[in-house]
Amino acid sequence: MTIPGFILRNALRNKRRLTLTVLSVALSLFLFTVLQTALRELSQPQLTEQSALRLIVRHKVSLANVLPSKYQSRIARVPGVKRVSRLTWFGGIYIDESNFFAQFGCDANALFDILTEVTTDPEQVAVFKREKTACMVGIKTMNRFGWKVGQKVTLRGTIYPATLELTIRGVYHGGIDETNLFFHHEYLDEATGWHVVGCYWIQAANADAVADVIQKVDAMFSSSAAETKTETERAFQLTFLSWFGNVKFLIGSICSVIVFTMMLVTASTMSMAIRERTREIAVLKALGYNGGQIFGLILAESFGLALVGGLIGCVGTWFLAQNVDMYVLSHGFFVKFEVTPHIVSAGLLIATAMGVVSCVAPAVASVRASVLDGLRELD
């Protein structure tokens, strides 16, 4: 027998309690890592070299306010702007409200020159450009609804008083979001007669031009009826998060509760385990084990228990991310669900830290207790 073997025997002596405790820690860690992953997906859209060149011009007041379509030609003339496309959130309903996905009116000729990360079939794009009622759809949404190229899709407007009858002419793959549907802005303009734009999507000529373009575009419209706010695509994506309120605080609070609960569960288990062994600890002391060695035995057991629970929880989250289509499960809310090493490490660090913290009080108490008190406890 070795010291680790002795610790293992102690940990395994009450298998039901051990199992329940490990599962409690595992479930807590599972929830923690799922929430952290969700928070990351919501708040940290991936930044690519191409997306760093993209800017969004929107109404200064809010995203709900629209911009005049005549701004497009003026924006296109700003030095440093390579391409510009209208980009308007349609917010239509496909059959019923549960089938949520994003739909944008855009300039078909510029779209895939700006959205360069995605992969498309050039022939499909050519057809899309020619046909006013055509649309291009991300592969995840195609799969989600079992759509085929050539199929007709009807979107009932909720923001705009129009119902769009679209024909799927192509599919795109890749990029940070494979769920969108893009259609011709002209079709929206004709259907509503409004000629307004949600925002403009700019492709800057190079990274050095980005700051200059932001400043010049906003300056150009600073005295107009519809002032603009120009920002990077990444900054724009982050503003979406604020639509859901203080999500970061909410998730942070839930995570804190989870961690605290985990600590209570582990502390309760370790207290019971140590109390049950009061006499045995006294016997170990009588045999010559000193306070530090006793503390180490208890600490290692608690640490190991928390680590195993944490590992199971993290593996559970990883399994979820690998084997479950979170896009479908979340009804399109999460485009990706990537459990990063950073999140796993943070989870394991918290689990083991809680394992250590939760055993300190009972371990110190048992170290301080005299051998005689321990022996009398049960004699």
Partner: protein, 227 residues
């Protein structure tokens, strides 16, 4: 008598229970020689167990000195005391106090985990100790698979395995039937006589005490007839 292995001088122990002071030992002086088998006897509350605990280094005197093998146990810190116990004391309890999830072999091996011995050396020591107490064939048994007498013999093997200076036994037959008690006492006697172990045993049973070479009587915290 050679230089005594245990020298106790004017030893007192007072327990404080709130405002009340309980005198467990009152100015005891006693020598125990190397290779002796001493039975500490007395009625309940006489202080015999307290005296044994101080000799074994699991309790501290309030006054006076208890020197074992030249070390005054009252001068040691808790950590020093633990190291001292590991080297000098083998403890046999009334209730055996084996770890229920460990086999007889592993229980005996427990004190050796703190030493620098290799696994092979530990195994040799444990097997020798279990053989000495007649349980070589029960090494892989858990405590619940052993009788009370066998459990106590495993506890004696555990106390012996580090080859301590002193073997202290607190009512070692208190939880045993007459037959098992006789076996355990015979074993302690053999260890004393043949292996030269110094044994200090607390008992209130005159039959058990009769196995010792010397009896020391205590009453109300004092030695009767000077020990």
């Amino acid at each position: 008598m050679d230089q005594p292995i245990v020298q106790i001088r004017e030893l007192s122990k007072v327990y404080q229970h709130g405002d009340i002071e309980v005198v467990a030992l009152n100015g005891i002086s006693l020598d125990i020689g190397r290779g002796e088998f001493v039975a500490l006897m007395g009625p309940s509350g006489s202080g015999k167990s307290t005296l044994l605990h101080i000799i074994a280094g699991i309790d501290r005197p309030s006054n006076g000195r208890c020197v074992v093998e030249g070390t005054d146990v009252g001068d040691l810190s808790e950590t020093e005391l633990a190291a001292w116990r590991k080297q000098h004391v083998g403890f046999v309890f009334q209730t055996f106090n084996l770890i229920p999830v460990l086999t007889a072999f592993e229980n005996v091996e427990l004190p050796l985990l703190l030493t620098g011995l290799s696994a092979r050396e530990r195994r040799d020591h444990v097997e020798a100790a279990l053989e000495l107490v007649g349980l070589a064939d029960r090494m892989r048994h858990l405590p619940r698979q052993l009788s009370g007498g066998q459990e106590q013999r495993v506890a004696i093997a555990r106390a012996l395995v580090t080859d301590p200076t002193l073997l202290v036994a607190d009512e070692p037959t208190g939880n045993l039937d007459a037959h098992s008690a006789a076996d355990v006492l015979a074993l302690l006697q053999t260890l004393n006589r043949d292996a030269g172990k110094t044994v200090v045993m607390v008992t209130h049973d005159p039959k058990a005490a009769a196995h010792a070479r010397r009896m020391v009587h205590l009453e109300k915290g004092e030695l009767l007839n000077g020990g």
